[in-house]
Symmetry: C2
Subunit: 516 residues, 2 copies
């Protein structure tokens, strides 16, 4: 089935005319295709079954439908709204956030080194561009770099981590990647080994960022979910970790534990105590820790502070020096929001040197991360310092973005908590709210009749009637019988206010419709 | 073993003090590490065995050693040479090729849109930048794009293919990627399915570009090698294809056939007749065709012409419309050489629509290819046209690069063919020569004593004594008992002349040493 046909079915889902199996399991729809059955050709039935299983809700059918609606609006279709508000993805610039000038000036100079001598850029921009060009083969960002990234940039990242944590970081332990996602996938892939006939398993939070569930499916690794504690700011409860591990150990070989801090989609910022407990748990059970820390700059709530797993681990002392940790960072989030640059990094700690060599060998076949993305990493790892010409503008731009995000985080939580049947934890950090909401039994029944999860049913109705695109909680995972959705906090304040007003009206109308 | 320790061993290989098993199978070196044996930690023994198997010679131990030598030279080490010549990788800018101005001006404007109104760029550059920004969320290249790339750029790629082939191309069949390598891997991965208990197999040329062998190892797919016919310009011999397929069919389920045209590392440009035969072979056996056509602009030899598989397939008529084809292109090669931009694309033809939907779903979890790389694709797919302000400079730059590459291709072949014991096919296209050379029996014995392949032994000696870094034929595959290496044709003419002189002297010395 083509994507277009799929989408036409998506809109028909609401009427119950199309079954969930056809919408969500797009593998099923081709069984009547005579050609593919008759030939040796590649079909959904004979292709990689892991890819068929894989789901990535952040860009799933709802988002495809949102794109379609945008095209319909462009063509003049009459709708009860004038534009689609894409609150489904943490895409700051798309929602009107302005780039950090320093980063973009450096990138422009690297793309076109003639600009360096044009007298239009501050001295520190020119200096930075010259340094990076010196580190590129032939002085061009068109050259390949080392597969794990330019040494200069890796050293700057090590300095950044050292400044952040107050503990040494070694540049050889850092590798750059085409976005944090690539680095995370590279590390997850290391665990594919059915030791003693048992699949390797990886613990991930529920709710989780679906890169994890998608990658585990792709690699045939077992997904071992542990529930975050919604009643306690989505923190990690040690008893729940132990329960999850004990249950999963019967069927798979649990080898790694993923923690997302600040949390996506849940917005919590873990306390230092909680992190210590998690590290102790990892040590006790010999688990490799994945610390997804891409939102480390996005901390808003009073009393919340970002503690890196690396820092806490080091400070736990020598007894913990053999705990294996990979921590991940990105230029896509924070105050920079350079999603399109695809720049990320990972720091390895306590990882066997031979394993590291294997990892670096594996990524070498992909040649290198894009070089301007590496340049963006360089600017983030070593931003302008006090006294340098770009410092004032840089710090103003950064502060403005983070202050505004903080206000929007508060605004969105307040608005949801004023809506009947909603309960939304404080967005301590990251870029999302993940409110819990109630659905009238008749709405749940209508969703069941349509063959889709109730929160997805709600989200489709919201999209079709208001143009607001969110991601239903079922795309991230949630405790059975509860309903959530993820919305970003990224619409600019005026649009966010408008969105929340529309949302409230929709919810009232929806609830009334199904409660009558 | 750390990479540094590995490298110190590499240099000791020449003396025979270190065995091949320690150098090339870095998995073996850690078995005495008590900590990793005692704990549940990740080790080479319990990690993903496919990654352990994977090898990528273009960035293997020789290249790591070349990097070390560069550092030693920087620190003032006395060597018989002043610089390392990296002829191991098709990295044009690193070897002094200049970027195409139009591409870089557009990229600079996209990075810093303020530049558009500065009055320093031609009108078509500004226009292009505006068009691309209009297609980006929030008018910023810092936004995510669709996972398969910006629709505008996909449409431009379709137009490019249509102009090239004279046949329709559909933008929905094209997806953009972070370099052609990523697209190739995405498509290979589709075949992971042990149907009827038999591993899926993929036919690849021998010699091949090691991305293929590395990816097949990574995905656990069976590598089914077919030998290229060195005596006939490295063409594909149908009898050899049939032999290879028949032999492999006993042990695996052969499902796809990879062809690299123009050839890497072998430099052939396939005739139209040869391509027709290959397509007929694919149809007869129901094989999915991978056409790696990243060197489509790099055709030098008189009488040679690039024919795309897509064009030939279409012209074979309706009987062939169900042949499945994925063809790949990149901004890293050709006249542009923008390796660092990581821009590539694939066109799918005859591929089941549901499979395509699965592929697009799978790549969606990786968010999107970097946006400035997509912009480079846009410039390549729709370069300045006659009458536009940037046209003259563009066509001059492009022609200069391709003319010079053509001269260098001839120069290198002539030089090798004048060396005793060498036989080098004409470099009809691509960026490499792959000469065959003879080794004295005593050199072969010395290599055996050192535990490394004879051509690798030769390449290490060449590197240590001259600073020239090539890739031994064993990294690409070759008929048993023959020795080759791959060198790029990319050093600028003066350096290339120098390199070839040094090479000749080394070879004479080496041959004399082992023939006495």
């Amino acid at each position: 089935m083509s994507q277009l046909k799929l989408i036409s079915r998506v809109s028909r889902v609401l009427s119950g005319a199309v079954k969930r199996s056809e919408l969500f399991e797009i593998n099923k729809v081709n069984t009547n295709n005579a050609r593919t059955m008759a030939s040796k050709g590649l079909t959904v039935e004979n292709m990689n079954p892991n890819i068929v299983k894989l789901e990535y809700a952040v860009r799933g059918p709802l988002v495809i439908r949102a794109g379609e609606i945008e095209k319909e609006l462009e063509k003049g279709a009459q709708k009860p709204f004038k534009r689609v508000i894409k609150a489904n993805i943490g895409d700051a610039h798309a929602m009107g956030q302005k780039p950090i000038t320093f980063i973009r000036q450096v990138m422009a100079c690297l793309a076109l080194p003639d600009l360096i001598e044009k007298g239009i850029f501050p001295e520190d921009v020119k200096q930075r561009a010259r340094e990076i060009l010196d580190a590129c083969g032939g002085g061009s960002v068109g050259s390949y770099t080392a597969s794990h990234g330019i040494e200069l940039v890796r050293r700057r990242v090590a300095d950044y981590i050292q400044r952040r944590d107050g503990h040494p970081a070694h540049w050889e332990d850092i590798f750059l990647s085409s976005g944090a996602s690539t680095a995370i996938k590279n590390c997850l892939q290391l665990f594919c080994n059915d030791l003693g006939g048992k699949t390797s398993g990886v613990m991930i939070p529920i709710p989780q960022y679906p890169l994890y569930s998608a990658s585990l499916a792709e690699y045939g690794l077992a997904q071992v979910g542990y529930y975050l504690d919604e009643e306690h700011h989505w923190g990690l409860d040690l008893r729940e970790l132990e329960r999850s591990l004990a249950e999963a150990s019967a069927t798979c070989n649990v080898r790694a534990l993923v923690v997302i801090n600040p949390g996506n989609p849940t917005g919590q910022v873990l306390t230092r105590d909680n992190i210590e407990s998690i590290i102790k748990f990892a040590k006790k059970h010999g688990l490799f820790l994945f610390a997804d820390e891409v939102y480390q700059d996005n901390v808003y709530a009073a009393g919340s502070k970002f503690h890196s797993f690396k820092k806490v681990l080091v400070e736990l002392g020598d007894d913990y020096k053999d705990v294996e940790l990979a921590s991940f960072m990105s230029v896509s989030k924070g105050y920079m929001g350079e999603c399109g640059a695809r720049g990320g990094w990972a720091e390895l700690r306590g990882v066997n040197a031979a394993v590291r060599a294997q990892l670096y060998k594996c990524i070498s076949a992909m040649l290198c991360p894009n070089v301007l993305g590496q340049a963006a990493i360089d600017c983030v790892a070593r931003p302008p310092q006090p006294g340098e010409p770009s410092y004032e503008l840089y710090i103003k731009e950064k502060t403005d973005v983070l202050d505004s995000l903080k206000k929007r985080a508060e605004m969105i939580v307040d608005a949801f908590n004023q809506m009947q049947g909603f309960k939304c934890n404080v967005v301590q950090g990251a870029m999302y709210a993940f409110p819990r909401f109630e659905l009238p039994p008749r709405a749940v029944a209508a969703a069941a009749a349509a063959g889709i999860p109730p929160d997805t049913f709600y989200a489709f109705r919201l999209l079709e009637e208001t143009g607001i695109c969110i991601v239903p909680g079922s795309g991230f995972g949630q405790r059975p019988g509860t309903y959530h959705f993820r919305t970003t906090i990224l619409p600019q304040p005026e649009l966010l206010r408008e969105m929340l007003d529309i949302f409230k009206k929709f919810h009232q109308k929806f609830t009334a419709e199904y409660s009558g």
